[in-house]
């Protein structure tokens, strides 16, 4: 059997006396799209923060292609192959769209300080190569005509896409998407959906997705994990999840409407 792209075993973190995530287990295989859902404050983003090295797990471990990732810093995790987007878009706002993507090609730049200071041939070669790569990536997202725009001037939907493009530029094997459809209108959501499908076909990467838009989750996720109060309450195919009484009680319960309106930034 192939080694799974991501394997988390008994992952957990405690803040003071609070168990934010407890005994979280997940296995994601190559090319798979797994959904992570749960009510607000359930610990979804905390799971993301654990998997990307923002927080260090106090219990358990997680593995990327069989390599243990505990104790790695954020940029080391990214270099190993886990990239993410953020719930509230984090772009390099004053920089151009192209520069935003070029930065994430960090690992592909081979030139050193002296090459940069004196503009030696290697500088020009690397810069040109990566500019081409970045443009190719922007083409997938239909952003190539906006390459010279300042990122902050893009409409919201395109900013989301750019953030995904930037994550792809890191050359990752696993992409973590934190509520990519939040704040999007139905057209933009549909566009995002086709985008996700395109990148799955093109790059064959695995995706872990946090999303509140249930119709989106049910449509694209192959498997779903549901957590509440940091504890995994259900796992399975979308159909099973939709019928699971525990999930309905926790997530699709009566106060669901209220929760959707206000989303906490870090605690979710």
């Amino acid at each position: 059997m192939n080694t799974p792209v991501l394997e988390a075993k008994h992952l957990g973190i405690t803040f003071g006396g609070l168990k934010a995530v407890d005994d979280f287990n997940i296995t994601i295989n190559e090319g798979e799209l797994v959904g992570l859902i749960g009510p607000n404050g359930a610990g979804k983003t905390t799971v993301f923060n654990l998997l990307t090295g923002v927080y260090q797990p106090t219990e358990g471990a997680f593995f990327l292609n069989g390599n243990k990732m505990n104790g790695k810093k954020m940029h080391e995790v990214v270099r190993a192959g886990i990239a993410r987007t953020f719930q509230n878009i984090r772009l390099f706002k004053t920089m151009t769209v192209l520069e935003n993507v070029k930065i994430a090609f960090e690992m592909d730049f081979k030139y050193k300080l002296a090459h940069a200071f004196f503009r030696l041939p290697k500088y020009w070669k690397d810069e040109k190569e990566i500019e081409e790569k970045a443009m190719d990536l922007l083409k997938i997202f239909n952003l190539e005509s906006k390459a010279d725009y300042i990122a902050n001037n893009l409409p919201y939907g395109q900013q989301r896409k750019l953030e995904i493009a930037r994550a792809l530029a890191t050359g990752m094997k696993l992409l973590l998407l934190d509520e990519p459809a939040a704040g999007m209108n139905p057209t933009e959501t549909a566009e995002l959906l086709s985008c996700i499908n395109v990148i799955r076909e093109r790059f064959g990467i695995a995706i872990l997705l946090i999303e509140h838009d249930m119709s989106l989750v049910m449509k694209i996720c192959e498997r779903i994990v549901v957590i509440d109060y940091g504890v995994t309450i259900a796992k399975g195919l979308p159909k099973e999840i939709a019928e699971n009484p525990k999930v309905i009680a926790a997530y699709l319960g009566a106060d669901d409407d209220l929760e959707d309106e206000e989303d906490t930034k870090e605690g979710a």
């Binding site: 990307t52 923002v54 810093k73 954020m74 940029h75 990214v78 270099r79 990239a83 993410r84 953020f86 984090r90 772009l91 390099f92 706002k93 004053t94 920089m95 151009t96 520069e99 070029k102 930065i103 994430a104 960090e106 690992m107 730049f109 030139y111 300080l113 090459h115 940069a116 200071f117 004196f118 503009r119 500088y123 020009w124 690397d126 810069e127 040109k128 500019e131 906006k146 390459a147 010279d148 725009y149 300042i150 001037n153 893009l154 409409p155 930037r166 994550a167 530029a169 890191t170």
Partner: protein, 358 residues
């Protein structure tokens, strides 16, 4: 990309040679007094300092107030080296130009300042914002006090507790023509640094450090690198200063001096090297030009600063760079290739309006 870049560098070089030619003519025909030449020299030093501080304060966005401390390290190192060379008869004599010693000394000053930049940067850059400002201020003062007390730098030793004498007898071998080109090279190197992956990473960290590390950037590395490069050029500026002024006292590298350069950065625009160049010239020349109104000159200086900050809070140029190539294109009426950014703004506001209409 490469072609247009070479073309614009050539244009810049031509402009610089013209400026240099004017400078030579003015100096050789004694049109400029020694006093004015001195101010020009200080302008060159200020330009290097302001640009170097712009790397940390402007591009990296971290308020570091220790610039003068590193300038001091560079100044004392360079001074000691030329003094030692003079006493040991190395590179001294008829056939050897003083400039060679001068260049070796300022390079050494820069390198030592850069080494201290790494040492100070690693602990200091764990902090940010006002904490970083305070800690760099503290490090700058430590450097000053240590220099003040070191015996071989004119101090009385640490046990004495009182300030020592100035370090005197430094060969005044800085030549305005040489310093001009040293300044040009320094600014050019800082420019190429900022326009490389390193500069991009530094600007990205200022924009959003979490997103930067989520893009695979080693934030600590880039922060320390920016601080080190900045310290290096501060050290070079210090070396020039030492050989211009002829005697050094540690008191002239206090925190007030650091703030002076940070003011230049803010005045010219945080994130614009050409802005720093202009601000350095203006803010060095202004107090001198106002010397006639002796009592009121600092007042006028402050008022000028306040006016700029009120009407242009991002500094004179913001993050805009003055480009001779662009200017020439404009004069010739050529269309500019990269105005997309502005177009984007127009279009973005256009889409907003459309949404409202819908």
């Amino acid at each position: 990309m490469k072609k247009s870049s070479i073309k614009s560098s050539l244009i810049n070089l031509v402009v610089l040679i013209i400026v240099f030619g004017i400078l030579i003519v003015l100096c050789e025909f004694d049109i400029l007094s020694n006093y004015i030449r001195g101010i020009l020299m200080v302008c060159c030093i200020s330009i290097i300092m302001a640009c170097s501080q712009n790397i940390t304060v402007g591009y990296l966005g971290q308020i570091a107030l220790g610039g003068a401390g590193f300038m001091g390290i560079g100044a004392y190192t360079a001074a000691i080296i030329t003094k030692a060379m003079a006493s040991a008869n190395i590179l001294v004599g008829e056939g050897v130009p003083d400039t060679l010693r001068f260049l070796i000394a300022i390079l050494a000053g820069g390198i030592l300042a850069a080494i201290f930049g790494v040492l100070v940067g690693i602990p200091a850059l764990r902090l940010r914002g006002d904490y970083l400002a305070i800690i760099t201020l503290g490090f700058g003062e430590i450097i000053r006090v240590v220099i003040q007390n070191l015996k071989f730098l004119g101090g009385k030793g640490f046990s004495e507790g009182s300030a020592g004498q100035a370090l005197v007898g430094i060969n005044r071998i800085s030549n305005l023509y040489v310093v001009f080109w040293v300044m040009v090279i320094c600014v050019a190197l800082m420019y190429t640094f900022i326009r490389s992956k390193y500069g991009r990473a530094i600007i990205a960290i200022r924009n959003d450090d979490i997103a930067a590390s989520a893009s695979g950037l080693n934030i600590t590395f880039y922060k320390v690198l920016a601080f080190t490069v900045s310290s290096f050029f501060a050290g070079v500026a210090g070396g020039i200063f030492a050989h211009y002024i002829g005697s050094l006292s540690a008191g002239s590298f206090g925190w007030l001096k650091s703030t002076e350069y940070v003011i230049m950065v803010v005045f010219g625009g945080m994130g614009s090297l050409t802005g720093s160049v202009i601000a350095a010239i203006v803010l060095t020349a202004l107090p001198e030009a106002l010397r006639e109104f002796s009592d009121y000159r600092m007042l006028a200086y402050s008022v000028a600063l306040i006016i700029v900050m009120i009407y242009r809070p991002t500094g004179l140029l913001g993050t805009y760079e003055v480009s001779v190539t662009r200017l020439i294109n404009k004069i010739l009426g050529k269309k500019e290739p990269s105005l997309h950014a502005i177009k984007a703004e127009v279009e973005a506001s256009g889409t907003k309006e459309e949404e409202v209409v819908k």
